[in-house]
Amino acid sequence: MALAAPPPARGHGLRRALAPYALISPTLLLLATFLLFPVGSVLYYALQHHVVNEPYDDAFVGLANFRQMFGDEQFWSSLAFSAKWVFAEVMLQLLLGLALALIVNETFVGRAVARALVFSPWAVSGVLTTSIWMLLYNPATGVFHYLAELGVGNAGTSVLGNPDTVFSAAVVAELWRGVPFFAILILADLQSVPKELYEAASMDGAGRVRTFLHVTLPHLRDAIVLATLLRSVWEFNNVDLLYTLTNGGPAGATTSLPLYVAQLARKSYDFGYGSALTTAAFVILLFCSVLYLRLSKFGREK
């Protein structure tokens, strides 16, 4: 992240020096109390055996939870699922978001309405997204019944019950809500492409595709890197949708790592091991993010 522009040269030395700290102090206070402390307690519990309804067994166990993790088949399979989920979601959201941004960046009648409509699912929560898509997917209430009447498919189709389709079904529901985020970010950046660049390209006789590849895309690079990074982290951490839509099933086919942790905490009451997995997820995310920023040369001049 590039740092501050030079500050205006005015004001007394001491006041100037203290001003920024005064300005960030409320935030620091909030973060330290309501974020740092909880994070610390997760780290603490990661080293404890702590199952809520077996309080008599609570004890410091060092790294035992982490050792258990390495041998835990479900940890690895849920981690693999998370990777697959994040990759599919972010790639598709990026591609569709980019396409959508390019479309609504054109001038046409009704553009404002079209924008408002296609962006609107972004405002809907994960839990509500589930309610809506459950209605659509459920064989008793959903669209398949009507499609079958038109001769398409089978009325009894259950996309969430079939391990071959559940992944795509969940991905589509999350796309519905996730694409607008990319579309908005990219659209914002599209509007800041200097007009002269397009004019120059058109003078050179560049076609639509070449202009896009050589002018538009490079300009969007940082926006894309940042959006994909933030989105990857959010998609990784988000449990709402999968928890309520598929509950990780069928047969564990859609259990992501945070969902596995949530199940450990809520049904097995195992907070010690759950905390250890959370810590591991945090480290993995941090490592991947740094790597990604390095590899993508984020923020460097083109």
Partner: protein, 275 residues
């Protein structure tokens, strides 16, 4: 045949066809929810006809959504105010000052994005218990403010940076103090930023489910997402009520969003995000 015809066809294929397809994808789920909310229970018609408002009556009056709705509005509005205010302060500091620890602070702000809110529940609960804030709306407002502030502040600093520093300097040359220069010159130019950050905060707070579920007990304090959950009992699911509750939950944020999205598009360029 004029020369314009193939160009028009190209435009339809390139622009309107994909847009129409995408609109179907966006709108059908909303329509499905409205359909269940507006047609009588048991109906299988694809049109909400005969039209009924009984499901809205069920959730609004029978299931307490009237109260939930008011609570959600207040909590989301107060979160909006706190997040925007603190983000303005911190965002200004990040954009206009160079100070020791700035990089570390920025890094800390970014790292907060890696923290999964769900695992923070128990420790947060204990903290609020210490402050005697369990079963108080303030627990939600504080938790939401804390979790949304980091990104809001980074965004806001980008917006501040986009305001040319010379404007502020010239105002200060004219004898304004820094604060007056900020209020008179910078703040009006930050309107898209404030709208963007504020609407993010409002929507995020409106949609939160887990915090409300855990920190509030009193039904008089509960929020819409938790109310939505109670339309699905262990033994029943009332699809009409579920959908009507969904409409109540979706309408405010979708409306807010439809109104502010043009500011978002204006303000959220990477310039704003990375400075």
């Amino acid at each position: 045949m004029t020369a314009a015809a193939p160009r028009a066809t190209g435009r339809v294929l390139r622009l309107f066809l994909p847009l129409a397809l995408y609109l179907v994808f966006t709108v059908v789920p909303f329509y499905w929810m409205l359909l269940f909310a507006l047609r009588p229970a048991g109906s299988t018609s694809l049109l909400p006809w005969p039209l009924t408002f009984e499901h809205f009556d069920t959730v609004w009056n029978g299931m307490g959504f009237r109260v939930y709705f008011q609570n959600s509005v207040w909590i989301a509005l107060l979160t909006l105010v706190f997040v925007t205010f603190f983000a303005l302060m911190g965002g200004y500091a990040l954009a206009r000052f160079k100070f020791r620890g700035q990089r570390a602070f920025l890094l800390a702000l970014l790292c907060t994005q890696f923290v999964p809110g769900a695992m923070m529940l128990i420790p947060l609960f204990n903290i609020f218990q210490t402050f005697d804030l369990i079963n108080s709306r303030w627990s939600l407002i504080i938790a939401e403010t804390t979790f949304q502030l980091p990104l809001a502040m980074i965004l806001m600093s980008g917006f501040v940076r986009n305001v040319p520093v010379e404007l502020e300097e010239s105002a200060m040359m004219d004898g304004c103090g820094r604060i007056r220069a900020f209020l008179a010159v910078v703040l009006p130019l930050l309107r898209p930023g404030i709208v963007a950050v504020g609407s993010f905060a409002f929507i995020g707070s409106w949609n939160n489910f887990l915090f409300a579920l855990m920190f509030l007990n009193d039904p008089e304090l509960q929020t819409v997402p938790v109310g939505l959950q109670t339309t699905i009992g262990e033994n029943t699911v009332d699809f009409g009520a579920l959908a009507a509750g969904g409409v109540v939950a979706a309408v405010p944020v979708v409306l807010v969003f439809a109104f502010v999205q043009k500011y978002l598009v204006q303000g959220m360029s990477t310039g704003a995000v990375k400075g």
